[in-house]
């Protein structure tokens, strides 16, 4: 029997490798390259244009002594935690309600989902208006005679971030609900039957059986929400512009302002780097669990 030569490994699946070039380039050049570039220049005192004048950690020192940045971080934290909880809880409850074989399911689903089709600019604008104390809810309620009524989240520095949250929840829960609904539909019918035979009340079945079974859905959802949280910018700009004062600043806005408004790229890059770092801190354990775990299993 003749022997066959082993073909060059590099040229196996050549088409697949060829097709993956855009992805590889994007990953390497844009995401990795851009990240590294950002990190490197965060150690410089670049102003309007990047320049290689390294100043060590000065930008970071300044970053962490800036109350605007600290408020941004705090806001992001509040916003992130609340949005995560609200959109998951509301999204799940809505999905669970829609999953009860109800009538008009399509109508309700469309109602919950349509805000997702609108841009943040639009969302911000509409909610800014509804929450406007003069014209909006506060004004209307007062015109009914309840003159001491006060609901002005966008104009009250203490709660402005929650005002932004109202719009964010409005915009994002639709998608979450869809994801959850899809997840619920993927649950084995027999589990429900088993739980009914066991006489387990509906809410307990959801809480103790169904939700733990939807782990993959929750992970996907979490990735989607979390990526949106870190990037939140437009909504804040459209609703409050960071105000009142700096009460609703968020890191993405800080970075943007630093780079383009105060023309201090180095400072902006330092902020970016901190944001990327926090993303990594969240993502690496997840990636480890997802990918590392599978190989062993």
């Amino acid at each position: 029997m003749e022997e066959a030569r082993r073909p060059n490994q590099l040229f196996r699946n050549l088409n697949a490798k060829f097709a993956a070039i855009p992805m590889v380039l994007t990953a390497l050049v844009v995401f990795v390259g851009g990240t590294i570039w950002t990190i490197v220049y965060s150690f410089t005192d670049s102003r309007l244009l990047p320049r290689e004048n390294f100043v060590g950690l000065a930008q970071y020192e300044r970053l962490w002594s800036s109350s605007k940045w600290l408020i941004s971080i705090q806001n992001l934290f509040i916003y992130g935690v609340c949005l995560l909880i609200f959109s998951l809880v509301i999204g799940f409850i809505l999905a669970a309600l829609l999953d009860q074989k109800i009538r008009f399911e399509n109508t309700f689903r469309t109602i919950f989902l349509y805000p997702f089709a609108l841009s943040f600019i639009v969302t911000g604008l509409v909610w800014q208006w509804i929450l406007n104390p003069q014209f909006g809810i506060e004004g209307v309620v007062r015109s009914w005679g309840w003159t001491s009524f006060s609901f002005d989240p966008l104009y009250n520095a203490d709660i402005v971030i929650y005002g932004i949250l109202i719009a964010a929840v409005w915009q994002s829960t639709g998608l979450i609900m869809c994801l959850m609904l899809a997840g619920l539909r993927g649950i084995d019918e027999d589990i429900w039957k088993a739980a009914r035979v066991d006489g387990i009340p509906m809410w307990k079945t959801y809480l103790f059986i169904v939700i733990p079974m939807m782990r993959p859905v929750f992970i996907t959802t979490l990735v989607i929400i979390a990526s949106g949280i870190v990037r939140v910018y437009d909504l804040v700009v459209a609703q409050t512009g960071g105000g009142p004062g700096i009460a609703s600043e968020v890191p993405a806005k800080y970075v943007y302002d630093a780079m383009f408004l105060s023309q201090n790229l180095g400072q902006g890059f330092a902020g970016s780097t901190m944001m990327l770092l926090s993303v990594l801190i969240v993502l690496i354990p997840w990636a480890y669990l997802e990918f590392g775990g599978k190989k062993r299993g």
């Binding site: 589990i191 039957k193 059986i209």
Partner: protein
């Protein structure tokens, strides 16, 4: 004193009528198997009994109580599913106890019941594990355990063994049989595997298209199927069907392309020996070969086309009146493709069906 009564139950999914005015009585302590091809409504019927589906018409009684409108948990039933339907994030113990805790049973009562079920099913070492860490057979045992701890009179099984491989299936089959002998409660068991049906059942209900075709003991169904569908469904390897004509009269006979089979030993049904197109069915294991064939009332020569050794015995395929005919021989007997062999069978053990409706003649 029947344990489960299904009276005139119909069920529609929209415009599709899945169960058609179905009646069924299951005696106390009886093991009833619902057998039928996929989509015939077996699971639907079981779900109706369990209360997981609302019937469109009719009533259901369990232990002489009308439970038609009762919740599943109040019907005194336990159910085991094909896909096990274990709660994946709870340990085996959690799976067993979850329903009991919800019923607010005292702690020690729960513990006793779990201990008993675990002992019966021999899953004590698994109690602390999660379902994912169990093999298929173990999972199904836990699923049975979950029904067991409920301490109910009626057990419902929906194809509990279909997801297991052949070997495990036959092992667990025996275990279920033992369990039934020990517990002596009523069991209704859905399957589409006729071996399971035959070995487990006290009585079998063969279903097709939402209608029970025949409800009888395994032996009766095996030897006197009421129609061609039941005959073909029961028995493995399946019954041979030879198409031809019944020639009525004083000495009725079956004529298949010129070959005549005398039917004087055949017990005709109520209709008697009408003439007309018919199908003659004979089981492979009732066709004898060689010496045994000589003892049979009818004998013919056939040429061997395929030989299928199955270990314990061998299935041989030949042509009879131009139609496929299989018969079973012991493995020891050497039969090879191309041989001409003499076969014989007893029409008294065969079945005759109407060619059109498929009813037994």
């Amino acid at each position: 004193m029947p344990s489960v009564v299904v009276r005139d139950v119909s069920l529609n999914f929209g415009s599709v009528e899945v169960l058609k005015s179905l009646n069924l009585e299951v005696g106390r302590g009886e093991f009833l198997v619902l057998l039928g091809p996929s989509g015939c409504g077996k699971s639907t019927l079981l779900n109706c009994i369990a209360g997981l589906l609302d019937v469109s018409q009719g009533q259901i009684f369990i232990n002489e109580r009308n439970v038609t409108w009762d919740e599943p948990k109040d019907r005194g039933i336990g159910m085991v599913f094909q896909s096990y339907a274990l709660y994946p994030q709870m340990t085996v113990e959690g799976n067993l106890s979850f329903g009991l805790k919800n019923a607010r049973l005292p702690k020690d009562e729960i513990a006793t019941r779990i201990a008993r079920a675990a002992e019966i099913l021999q899953i004590e070492p698994l109690l602390k594990r999660k379902p994912l860490a169990l093999s298929g057979g173990q999972r199904q045992r836990v699923a049975i355990g979950r029904a067991l701890v409920r301490d109910v009179d009626v057990f419902l099984f929906d194809e509990p063994l279909s997801n297991l491989d052949a070997k495990l299936r036959s092992e667990l089959r025996v275990e279920i049989k033992r369990l039934h002998q020990k517990l002596e409660n009523t069991m209704i068991y859905v399957t589409h595997d006729q071996i399971e049906a035959m070995t487990l059942a006290d009585r079998i209900a063969v279903m097709r298209g939402g209608i029970i075709q025949q409800l009888d003991t395994p032996q009766a169904i095996y030897s006197r199927p009421v129609n061609r569908f039941v005959a073909g469904f029961i028995g493995s390897p399946g019954m041979n069907f030879i198409e031809g004509e019944v020639v009525g009269g004083a000495a009725p006979a079956f004529d298949a392309g010129g070959i005549k089979v005398p039917l004087d030993r055949y017990e005709f049904g109520d209709g008697g020996a009408r003439g007309g197109k018919a199908v003659f069915g004979v089981r492979p294991e009732h066709v004898a070969l060689g010496d045994a064939a000589a003892a049979m009332p009818c004998q013919y020569d056939v040429e061997v086309e395929i030989v299928e050794p199955m270990g314990s015995d061998t299935l041989v395929w030949g042509k009879f009146a131009g139609q496929n005919l299989s018969f079973r021989v012991e493995t020891e007997r050497a039969v090879s493709v191309g041989d001409r062999v003499r076969i014989g069978f007893d029409p008294g053990r065969a079945s005759l069906f109407d060619a059109d409706g498929g009813e037994r003649i």
